[in-house]
């Protein structure tokens, strides 16, 4: 009877699954973490590789991969006898509980000595706690939630700036542009997706914006998985702001940008804060509509630092797209790790932690980021992390702010040309 066959098939699949599970952990009887003479350093990478945020997860993974490839090709970790870095990637599915359980698995089963990830703050926040519990250093290259480094954790190191710096920089930029051009933005619209990330941005904006003497004329959270964002776009139109601040993932950023261009909603400027606005897919799918958009981010292909162009070329040759903030963040963080490993001289979490906390790095490819050095304070925050404002010009992301990192060939356009006046 065929039904019996299918049942037995299902059972066999299940049994295989269980065996596989035990198999995954089977060979872990050997020496655990503290082993100096190993041929490889296992790095647990936790990223959202499925679910709605998966595109950014993939981009981040590429950053890690490229850096590791380079480091290994250049002879690995010399202090460890040329040990290679080995990435062990786990999918968080963008879900905190799975992220935590995967962190647990990376540490327990795969015996990673250091962890990194997890892009989303909502996953990074709890998964760093797991690492802390097991005393495994955790490098956070792109999650921005302020609280991540405010819990007194000893094993969490964040190379990127926290959210508070983003929102402050966005507001500072608008104020500076207003002073420079005599067209100060007074009416600000806040448009953000309603998960953790957007909500923490909004909380910070609501402090920073009034402080800078500007008025919030619109506070518009929206569900990241909306089928139609026109209502939000119409609200922006109704509010008639001078300056629009976004916190968006890729899909919603695309819908918003295209919709605003269609509705011809004019303002002095619109600024995203990384995430979707920095995703290469965003540029591809908005075309001319994203022209003159600002985006506050960690990195751009034209950052005036040595190695930037070469790295980006390599990346583009390998993956067909430019690097973006996320991939650059992850890329640079691997160099920070490599530096720490060299100084630790041991593949031991405790020693790596110590080395990381004493990081003072201003060479190597970690410096493709706009900051000039990496140093962690006692909370694990990179105190030198810095941000840049880019503007989309002729379909390219061009660094226009701050002065120190700006692309000499371009000046920020403020206020941006009206949609009606564009060709």
């Amino acid at each position: 009877m065929s039904s019996k066959k299918v049942i037995s098939l299902v059972l066999i699949v299940m049994l295989m699954g269980m065996l596989a599970l035990t198999g995954c952990s089977g060979n872990k009887g050997e020496a655990p973490n503290a082993d100096t003479a190993v041929g490889e350093v296992k790095v647990g990478v936790l990223l959202p590789l499925s679910g709605p945020v998966a595109p950014i997860g993939v981009t981040s993974q590429r950053g890690y991969e490229l850096a590791v490839e380079e480091i290994n090709a250049a002879g690995g970790i010399k202090a460890l006898g040329g040990a290679k870095i080995k990435l062990i990637t786990a999918d968080s599915r963008g879900d905190a509980k799975i992220g935590m359980s995967e962190a647990e698995r990376l540490i327990q089963s795969d015996k990673v000595t250091v962890m990194t990830g997890a892009y989303q703050s909502a996953v990074t926040y709890p998964s760093t706690q797991v690492a802390e519990k097991y005393k495994i250093p955790y490098i956070v290259p792109s999650a921005v939630k302020d609280e991540i480094t405010q819990r007194g954790f000893k094993y969490t190191f964040r190379t990127c700036p926290p959210m508070g710096w983003y929102t402050k920089a966005q507001v500072d930029f608008a104020v500076e542009m207003g002073k420079k051009t005599g067209k100060p933005a007074k009416r600000v619209a806040l448009v953000y997706e309603n998960t953790d990330w957007g909500q923490s941005a909004a909380t910070a904006w609501k402090v920073d914006v009034p402080k800078a003497g500007m008025e919030i004329v619109l506070d518009a959270p929206y569900p990241a998985t909306s089928s139609d964002l026109t209502p939000v776009i119409l609200k922006i139109k109704q509010a008639n702001p001078d300056f629009i601040l976004f916190t968006s993932y890729t899909s919603d950023a695309i819908l918003l940008t295209n919709g605003i261009a269609q509705m011809k909603i004019n303002s002095y400027g619109m600024a995203g804060g990384g995430g979707g606005h920095a995703d290469p897919e965003y540029m591809k799918n908005t075309g001319k509509n994203s022209e003159y958009h600002y985006d506050l981010c960690e990195w751009s292909t034209d950052v005036g630092k040595p190695g930037v162009k070469e790295t980006n070329d390599k990346f583009k040759a390998k993956y067909g797209v430019d690097m973006n903030g996320e991939s650059a963040n992850c890329y640079a963080s691997m160099y920070v790790l490599a530096d720490a490993l060299e100084r630790a001289g041991a593949n031991d979490p405790e020693k790596i932690r110590e080395a990381l906390s004493k990081t003072n790095l201003s060479t190597t490819n970690a410096m493709i980021m706009p900051n000039t050095s990496v140093q962690f304070d006692e909370t694990g925050q990179n105190i030198n992390a810095s941000l840049i404002m880019i503007q989309v010009r002729d379909g390219q992301r061009v660094t226009v702010w701050p002065e120190s990192a700006k692309n000499p060939d371009f000046e920020a356009v403020w206020p941006v040309p009206k949609f009606e006046d564009r060709k």
Binding site: S50, A220, K264
Partner: protein, 291 residues
């Protein structure tokens, strides 16, 4: 007041598009009394089909149905006859149970994630010239693809309505929904009617996909967003009622578009589910549903 008018117009256009998407769900329920939890992932498949034809073969999105409709009709026909009907048959024989609903839940998981596997997690947007076309009346801006989608949706729903009321096949579909055993006594194969109905559901979804591609992104879970809306819409209008699906679509479109002007979009989402549960509790047969 301009934005209010715009919001209303947008609500109407989106509403009729929602109606078009929901109409297949309602038809399938009306004919075989099955709530298809895979409806959204079917839409996703249709969207990918249209997208690839637009991007890879350079077709005009609005022309893609010529090729995609027959293909997906056949696909729907086969899925129904090979996968759903056997379970449905057993459920008719034994009575009770939620087998078919659960089967569609399984289909949803499989299809959504196969899309993820094959097409990747990336958002795919087909920027075609018409995408950014707008119509300006005074200070009111109307997006052309949205307008086309809204108006064509109404026409398509009307055509489906006419098909069901004027042709023999359409009448047979309606009759099957009313009494599947009596229909067999008329010489009509009820399971074949199910296959055709599921195929028609696919036709409607493909047409909706062709209308959506110029203004919306494709993503493995793109359909899911519309699926929840579709549930709300068909329950609101009355499961199994086409006019109801259209009316429900308009109502949801307006709630989403207009209330978001007073409250936040997040609150509008909350409101939609609140309306959903209230309708379920107070008027489970929907506004136009039949007893």
């Amino acid at each position: 007041m301009g934005t209010m008018t715009e919001a209303t117009i947008n609500g109407l256009f989106m509403g009729s598009l929602y109606g078009l998407i929901a109409v297949g769900l309602s038809l399938v329920f009306g004919v075989m009394k099955v709530v298809n939890f895979a409806h959204g992932s079917l839409l996703t498949i249709c969207m990918y089909a249209v997208y690839y034809l637009v991007m890879k073969a350079n077709w005009n999105s609005y022309l893609t149905p010529i090729l995609v409709v027959p293909l997906l009709f056949i696909f729907g026909y086969v899925v129904q006859s090979k996968i759903i009907n056997p379970v449905l048959k057993r459920e008719f024989e034994l009575g009770g149970g939620h087998a078919v609903i659960l089967l569609t839940v399984g289909m949803m998981l499989v299809m959504e994630n196969l899309c993820l596997l094959f097409f990747g997690a990336y958002y795919k947007v087909a920027q075609v010239p018409i995408s950014s076309l707008t119509l300006n009346i005074g200070n009111i801006v109307i997006s052309v693809p949205r307008m086309i989608a809204g108006i064509v949706s109404v026409i398509l729903i009307f055509l489906l309505y006419a098909f069901l009321n004027k042709t023999d096949m359409g009448k047979a579909i309606r009759a099957t929904g009313q009494d599947r055993e009596a229909v067999r006594l008329m010489g009509i194969n009820d399971f074949k009617i199910y296959n055709i109905s599921f195929g028609i559901c696919f036709i409607m979804l493909t047409l909706a996909a062709a209308l959506m591609i110029p203004m919306y992104y494709v993503h493995p879970s793109a359909g899911k967003i519309f699926e929840l809306r579709s549930f709300v819409i068909v329950v609101l209008g009355g499961l199994g009622s086409l006019n109801g699906a259209f009316l429900g679509g308009i109502i949801i479109g307006l709630i989403e578009s207009v209330t978001a002007q007073f409250l936040s979009a997040t609150t509008a989402e909350f409101l939609i589910f609140l309306v959903f549960i209230l309708v379920l509790l107070l008027k489970p047969n929907g506004l136009l549903g039949k007893k």
